[in-house]
Each structure stands twice: as structure tokens, then as C-alpha cells.
């Protein structure tokens, strides 16, 4: 009955909810998300919020890297632009929060437009290096342009309110982020059912062939950069308003690498994979912390050099996933699912 999904039309193939089963569990999961802040500890809500911010950024990066095949090592720069521009707008011009977040996204998208221009003639490695250089330049601009960005001292974000409701507690911010994540995930999921998203995929698979098919490479590459940086900008703005304090140290090369790690770990070119990866990479330091606490007595050096240990583990995770599960957690998930649906047959 269930071995394999037979589709007789393209309409079936691009349906968001492939089966009623998926729909059922998704709604159950959403219901769980809604009551989560009521049952969870404040610390877990805090972690969930960080995860959701990471999900926004990771989906954005996956649109650019996983779906369009343009490798970016400068994602942190777009987060920084979103974070700083929204905070500056709120601080200086009293822009309401509900506008500052999308405006942060738009500022990042404009920056994406600028980065896209040198990238049009380039591919693969060369784009990676351009975005890398851009990330470095933005970081230095933040440090040096201290009249606007506060320089090394950082910026403090004002308390935020949404439509009259103050988002002062972790659980209130949680609901705000949840809405944001659901909206943007749905947008991304639908994007790849449209001409635009399919054009991105065609460019990833073979750019010259895509152009021959009538896809305007310039237009779609720029669009991909803009959409991706818009997501990053939103994530940055949400991050700044949540932590209330940002410095350039939040947006270093390491953050860009962490976002790339989310894609590798979660799954290249998959929205669900971005979510898995974002949660995994965000919770990884917590897991490492818990484990080192267990062996603190035996290895006191591990506590003093905890930051280094975290670095080693996140590097190893990237390498090991690439070597042993290149499709990431999403790939593994698909395999497990196929195993259960097909059992007792192997395919």
C-alpha cells in the first residue's frame, strides 16, 4: 500500500503536504510548539528562541547555497547588517519594532544586491572568496564606524513591543519568533514550487544549461542573493532585539561558518534540513557543556579551555558529516523513513 508514492500529475508532485499523515503530525507538532512555553523551563525557552533565530538564518543561507549553488562564507555580514540597521533605526528614529525588523531585512537584501554584482561573473570557489572578503570588510566597517555602530563598545537595543504588547519576557518573544519562523518557512517552502525557485535549482544544477533553457542568470542570481540576505537580515534584527546588545564579535567569520555547518549537518538544499541543522548546531555547545560538566573533576583543563573544545567539536562535526553523511540529518531521516515504509523490503 505505502511502498513508494505514486504521483500521476505534477500537481501532486509539488504538493506541500504529500500525505495526510505528514499533515497530521505537522499540526500536532505545531500544537506542541504553541504550548511549549507553558510547560518548559525559562532556560529551554531561551534555547528555543536561539534555535528559531538560527532557523531563519539557516533557511536563508540554504536558499543561496543549497538551492542556487552560490557558496557564501559571508552570511554573518548580512546578519550584522540586519541587526545593526534595525537597532539603529529603533534607537535614532524611533521606528516601531514591527517595521524595524522587515526594514533590517530589506537593508540586508540591498547589501546582498551589492555583493551579487561582483558574483555575477564568478562561480563556485570565487564567489565563496568574494563573500568571505565582504564579510571581513563589513566587520571592519562596524568596528571603525563607531559614530553609528558604537564601534568595539557595541550597541544596546531598546525594549521592544509589538502592536502594543511588550515583548519583554522570553516566552512572549518566543511566540513572536514562532510566527516569524512559520511565515518565512512557509514562504521558502512555497518559493520552490514557483518559477523563481525552480530557476534557482536549475542554476545550481548547471548554470550554462539553465541559461540555455531561458533562465536569466543575472536576474535570478541577484534575486537569490537578495532573498537569502533578507532572511539573514530578519534573523539579525530578531537576534539584536532579543539579546538587547550587539557587538561586532557576534558577527565574525565563525558565525558564517556555523551557518554553513547548519546546512552541512541539516541537509544541502532542504528546508526541513535547515531546521534540523539550525537546531543541532545551536544546541551542540549546550550538549558539550553538559558532557564536560560530567568529567570536570577528571579533566580540569577542559573547563578552562572550553571555548577551544567547542571549536574542535564544531569543526569535527562538519568534517565527519561531509565524510559519512553528506546529505546531512535530512538525508538520514529520508533513509530511515524509506526503511520503515518499505519494510520488510529494502526498496
Amino acid at each position: 500500500m505505502l511502498n513508494g508514492h505514486y504521483k500521476v500529475s505534477y500537481r501532486d508532485d509539488v504538493k506541500i503536504f504529500q500525505t495526510g499523515f505528514v499533515k497530521f503530525w505537522l499540526f500536532l507538532f505545531l500544537a506542541f510548539c504553541l504550548i511549549f512555553p507553558l510547560i518548559a523551563d525559562r532556560y529551554f525557552i531561551y534555547l528555543a528562541n536561539l534555535c528559531m533565530i538560527a532557523i531563519l538564518g539557516a533557511i536563508g543561507l540554504n536558499i543561496l547555497v543549497g538551492y542556487t549553488g552560490l557558496i557564501s562564507i559571508g552570511h554573518a555580514a548580512f546578519l550584522a547588517i540586519g541587526a545593526y540597521s534595525s537597532t539603529i533605526m529603533m534607537n535614532r528614529f524611533n521606528v516601531p519594532f514591527v517595521l524595524a525588523v522587515p526594514l533590517g531585512g530589506i537593508m540586508a537584501a540591498l547589501a546582498g544586491l551589492i555583493v551579487a554584482i561582483p558574483s555575477l561573473r564568478l562561480k563556485g570557489l570565487y564567489i565563496a572568496i568574494t563573500t568571505f572578503a565582504f564579510g571581513f570588510i563589513i566587520q571592519h566597517v562596524i568596528v571603525r564606524w563607531d559614530s553609528i555602530t558604537g564601534g568595539p563598545d557595541g550597541l544596546t537595543a531598546p525594549p521592544v513591543a509589538l502592536l502594543g504588547v511588550s515583548l519583554d519576557s522570553d516566552s512572549r518573544y518566543y511566540y513572536f519568533l514562532l510566527v516569524l519562523v512559520i511565515l518565512l518557512t512557509a514562504f521558502a517552502r512555497n518559493l520552490f514550487r514557483t518559477r523563481i525557485g525552480r530557476a534557482f535549482i536549475a542554476i545550481r544544477d548547471h548554470d550554462v544549461a539553465a541559461e540555455v533553457m531561458g533562465i536569466d542568470l543575472v536576474k535570478y542570481k541577484i534575486l537569490s542573493f537578495c532573498i537569502s540576505s533578507f532572511y539573514a537580515g530578519i534573523a539579525g534584527a530578531a537576534f539584536a532585539a532579543y539579546l538587547k546588545f550587539i557587538t561586532f564579535e557576534h558577527f565574525t567569520l565563525r558565525l558564517s561558518i556555523d551557518y554553513l555547518a547548519m546546512i552541512v549537518v541539516g541537509g544541502f538544499g532542504s528546508i526541513l534540513g535547515s531546521i534540523f541543522g539550525a537546531v543541532f548546531i545551536t544546541l551542540l555547545p549546550e550538549a558539550v557543556q553538559t558532557l564536560t560538566d560530567l568529567v570536570r573533576e577528571d579533566f580540569p583543563l577542559l573547563t578552562t579551555r572550553f571555548a577551544a573544545l567547542k571549536t574542535v567539536i564544531s569543526g569535527m562535526i562538519i568534517v565527519l558529516f561531509l565524510l559519512f553523511e553528506p546529505e546531512g540529518i535530512y538525508g538520514r531521516w529520508k533513509k530511515i523513513k524509506a526503511y520503515w515504509t518499505n519494510w520488510p523490503f529494502t526498496y
Binding site: 564568478l122 571592519h140 571603525r144 577551544a308 573544545l309 571549536t311 574542535v312 569543526g315 561531509l322
Partner: protein, 299 residues
Amino acid sequence: MTDSSVSIFVQVVFNGLAVGSIYALVALGFVLIYKATGVFNFAQGELMMLGAYFCYTLIAMVGLGYILAFLLTLILCFLMGIVIEMAVLRPLVGKPIFSVIMVTIGLAVTLQGLTSLVWGDEVHNFPSFFSSEVLSFHQVHLRPIEIWVFFSTLMLVIGFLIFFKRSKIGIAMRGTANDQNTAMLMGISVRRIFSLSWAVAAIIAAVGGISYANLLFVSPDMSHIGLRAFPAAILGGLDSIPGAIIGGIIIGVCETLAGAYLDHMLGGGVKEITAFIILIIILMIKPYGLFGKKEIVRV
């Protein structure tokens, strides 16, 4: 121009040459791996740092003599290069470029973390090979190490040019870079060539790292020099050995000149990003660098 402003200019250029030589060494490592295996190694700066740390440990902690420690470091780095290639890079041969880029980034992060895990985050002074006496000609002051760095880079590059032109292994490496299948048909062991190019790149990185440590110090931040050497490699062209040295020196000199003349005009910070601005401009107008070969894409 007054006499003293000329000598300041000359001084800045010479300092730039010394820094540029180190960039050139790191860029040479990029080029070597890229030329043979088609991989851009983001961990080159980390290999450089490890070379410096190995040498530092052998001299300051084990207590070996300079020459012995230097040679032992080169051997260790040679082996490390082979191990990294076999364990991490080989399984990814033929995989999409994203995986290959990501694996070297992952490697860079791992090595970075391991270094601060093992040696800590402190800055160590490197026991200098050279006297700290400053040589002066007409108000231009140079440390012997700066001259040594410049000439050793030059020697290494000339050596590698000859190696690639004349020696059997060098020709095999070029053949592998050109077309792996044909190289295999010609009886070249492509696997050996891959390992070898990583090993040689690790050695070059170690020489660069030890030179840098002699100029300044040893610390986990050293690997940033690898990031600053990207522009050098791109400027020269990723598959060109003379390009690497010329690119490295241009970047080094531009950077110190910008630091000396533009920094106080624009309020500081220009020095750090000059290289990256040059990089973006180069990528916009001449993506394959000054000496790189243009790749032709067919559908």
C-alpha cells in the same frame, strides 16, 4: 619630496616586502594544492600555525637545537600533510565543490581549536633564529630576519618553478592537475601525487609559519595570516606559482603603504581591509588573476 620622506617610503616598502613574502609563502601553498588537486585549501593558515607551534615546542619545550628542530618540524609537517590528505580529502574526490570547500573549512576550524586546546591561547615569544641587531642604510632600518624571509621565499619559489618544469614528479603533478584520467593512463599514481602535494604544501606552510613567528610571535591568531593570503593567491592567479609570489608581494606592500599613508587620513583600519578590497576589485575585473589560466566551460 624631502630626503626623510623618501627614506620613510623606502622603509615602508621594505617592511611590506617582508610581510608580502610570508603572504607569498602561504599563497604558494594554496597554489600548489590547487594546481595538483583542484582543491582550495582554507586550512593553509592553520597548517602554517601548526608548523610554527611544532617548531616552538621542539625548541622551547623539548630543548633541541635550531637546525634540528627546523628539520624535524619539516618532517612532521610532511607527515601531517599526508595524513590530512588521506583521511579527509581523499574520500571527497569527485564530490561537489561545496563539500570540498566545506571540508577544508571544517579542517581549519578543527585545527584552530586543537591548537588552542593543546597550547592555550597565550602569545609566546618565538626563540629567534637571528640576531635582533638592526641593519641600517641611510635611515632605512631592517632586521636580518626580514631579509632572510624575503630571500628564502625567493629561493623556494625558484626551486618550485624548476621542480615543476624539470623534475618527473613536478611534471606528474602538472599532468594530474590538467586531467586526472589521462594522467592515470600515463602511469602516474594520482593518489601519490595528491598526498605529495599536500605534504609539500604543509612544508611550505611550516616555513612560512616559522618565518612569521620569527618576525612577530606564536599565537592561535596566527592563522589569520592565512586568510589575508587569499587575496594574494587570487591576485596572482590560483594556478600560477610566479603569480603567488608576485601577488603576495603586491598585497604585502599595498597593505603596509595603506597602513602608513591612508590610515590616519581615513581614521584607521584601512590596513586590515586593503587586501580584501583589492581582492574584490580583482575578482570583478580579472577573476582568474594576473597569471591564472582561464577555464573554458562547455555544456
